[in-house]
């Protein structure tokens, strides 16, 4: 509709040899991409400057996480696990070398460990340590930690959303579709888990299971699923009443088939988006736990741990109160930006989609 407006005489100053814009435009608008770009919700999204800022921040982090191996110097044990020696130390930057794919997609755990520049108990400035942003106490390279920390953040965020969503789908879809006492029991369990402060429950889980990045993800998934279960249940309840579902039931499809083939495909879209926007808050919980010392093992590239290193370096030596500012400033800034980006994006999307989670 807006396309035909462009063909009005006011714009028809172009010479007659070129095609009038009105003839080309409908063809363009027909592709699904263009239609999506021109859709009402997308236009609302594009007009919101904060949403664009959020999107840019998140994209910047995606780029950072992807490029992290290429801009940092890995430790020797990482090189060893990549099958490289000191002589071929740069080989992993070459896309024709198998080590490139290994560090990109099958990253050995040792590559996530921050390399240590010396073992000084005192943080060192960039000039002294020869690193870009300085080192924390014990000589951990801050720049490496921040870059690889963004990989850790996405890994935690994506996996936890994935696991949490799986659990939420199972519980929410069962409760919503079957209804009755099943619904009642499942939703009361969900209420209970929501009622426990997330950090306290995750704290108990990590303590029992032990410190590791996998256990951290298990703990956060265990506190993340209830809100997805509520969301899924709501959507399933909505879709369940549609006529085509009754149709599917009446031709004798089993309940599992109805849920999987008919209900979920129609309910999953907004849920996926809302769930993926949780990555910010999930990474925040993970960082908080690892700040308390209940996260990945010592030396793992992880923002929360880097902030906890900084705790001991709030006071500088006499006369230089801000001598160790870089230990707390950089990791803090990166976490704030990450959370801010997701929050801005999440806000805009929730507005556009009009889907409300809990609260």
């Amino acid at each position: 509709m807006s396309r035909t407006d462009e063909g009005t005489p006011t714009e028809a100053t172009a010479p007659e040899t070129t095609l009038p814009a009105g003839d080309l435009a409908p063809a363009r608008a027909d592709s699904w991409l263009a239609r999506w770009w021109q859709s009402k919700s997308m236009r609302r999204f594009r007009r919101n400057p904060l949403a664009i800022v959020g999107l840019l921040i998140v994209l910047a982090f995606v780029v950072t996480a992807t490029a992290a191996p290429l801009v940092t110097t890995p430790s020797r044990s990482c090189l060893r696990d990549l099958g490289l020696t000191a002589a071929t130390a740069e080989a992993y930057k070459n896309p024709t070398n198998p080590a490139f794919y290994k560090i990109m997609f099958q990253t050995p755990t040792t590559c996530y460990m921050m390399p240590r520049v010396g073992y000084s108990p005192i943080p060192q400035t960039p000039e002294v340590s020869g690193t870009l942003l300085g080192t924390t106490s014990q000589g951990y390279d801050i720049f490496y930690g921040l870059m690889w920390g963004s990989r850790t953040a996405f890994r935690i965020g994506v996996l936890v959303v994935g696991i949490g969503l799986m659990l939420g789908l199972i519980v929410g879809a069962t409760a919503g579709y079957l209804g009755g006492w099943v619904d009642n029991v499942l939703m009361r369990i969900t209420d209970m888990v929501i009622a426990v402060p997330a950090l306290v429950l995750a704290l108990v889980i990590v303590m029992v299971l032990g410190n590791s990045i996998i256990n951290l993800m298990i703990a956060i998934s265990a506190v993340a699923w209830p809100s997805y279960a509520r969301l899924v249940r709501g959507e399933v309840l909505r879709v369940k009443e549609l006529e085509y579902v009754t149709g599917a039931q009446s031709i004798g499809r089993r309940p599992f088939g109805v849920v999987m083939r008919h209900i979920l495909p129609n309910a999953i879209g907004p849920i996926l988006i809302v769930a993926s926007l949780d990555i910010g808050s999930i990474v925040l919980t993970a960082a908080a736990l690892s700040f308390l010392g209940l996260g990945p093992e010592l030396g793992y590239a992880d923002w929360g741990q880097m902030i906890s290193f900084a705790r001991n370096w709030i006071l500088g030596p006499p006369g230089q109160p801000l001598a160790y500012w870089y230990t707390s400033f950089w990791p803090g800034l990166v976490i704030v930006l990450f959370v801010l980006g997701w929050n801005l994006l999440g806000d805009a999307f929730r507005d556009v989609l009009d889907v409300r989670g809990n609260v």
Binding site: M192, V204, L292, R311, L315, V339
Partner: protein, 331 residues
Amino acid sequence: MLPIVFFGVTVIIVLLMQLLTPAQRAAAYVRSENQMNQIPQIIQQYRLDEPWYVQYGLWLQRLSQGDWGYSRTTNEPVLTTLQKRFPTTAELALLAILPVIGVGILLGTAAALNRDGLVDQVVRVLSIFAWSIPTFVMGIWLLVIFYGLLGWFEPGRISTEYVIQIAQGDFRRYTGMMTIDAMLNGRFDIALDALRHLVLPVITLATVQSAQIMRVMRSSLLDALSEDYVRTARAKGLPNAKVNQKHARRNALIPVITLSGFVMIGLINGVVITETIFNYPGLGQWAAQAALSLDYASVLGFAVFTAIVVVIANLLVDVLYGVIDPRIRYA
């Protein structure tokens, strides 16, 4: 519903504990090192190798009798530590609730009444930034600036010289809350010092939560302002302030009260982190320390305590609903 929440939470905790060996569970009742060789007896005495539901029953029984286990972190029974540290944390949390409610509701109201105006824009940007600064980053940054650089506020509960004075003198603890006790003892210098130590933790704890309240208050007041009854009230000539205060704001408070239940949960999460950062000797710091040293009894005690707090908070929220909206009544 509320007892169910409590039982559900404790069942979850006891089930998690089943991942440990009986000997590890027995560690929660060990009081000294010479007891380490009595682990088998402790397992027998507390029947820690029974099926989980039997253990759950026994555990609840012990809880109700006041045997919450022994905290290795503080070297005293868990219940004693809870009683000692609760006032300290309550002092922090209560002081943090004031700005959360005050700033949150006032700014949210101001933003909604000035929709798209300058105040609204500033409040919205502020709230999104405040909402995005994690507690632990904010705490560290505040310490770097106000302790490291300016030296105005220090971490901890009170200054060292007062710790000594309190330990030596006849300073009586009435409530366990340092500020109030100091005033009751007539020591206003100590009260002031205690308050000074509360400034940064309160700011840290309150910022995120007030941002949330602000956002919900703004959007729910905007919804209320577009209701028919508000238009009717304006049409019959009531003054603007009265319409806003009585007709719109009161109805707009209902979602805020719903949220305040979640704010309570957020405060508990925040207390653990804030107290750890500021070295503030409350329950949260104790729980975080205990979790690090695998002191199961303390962490369990804290978890049970939070479950109780959450139940009470939900109860308060339900009562508040009735106060704000007389249509809501409970049988």
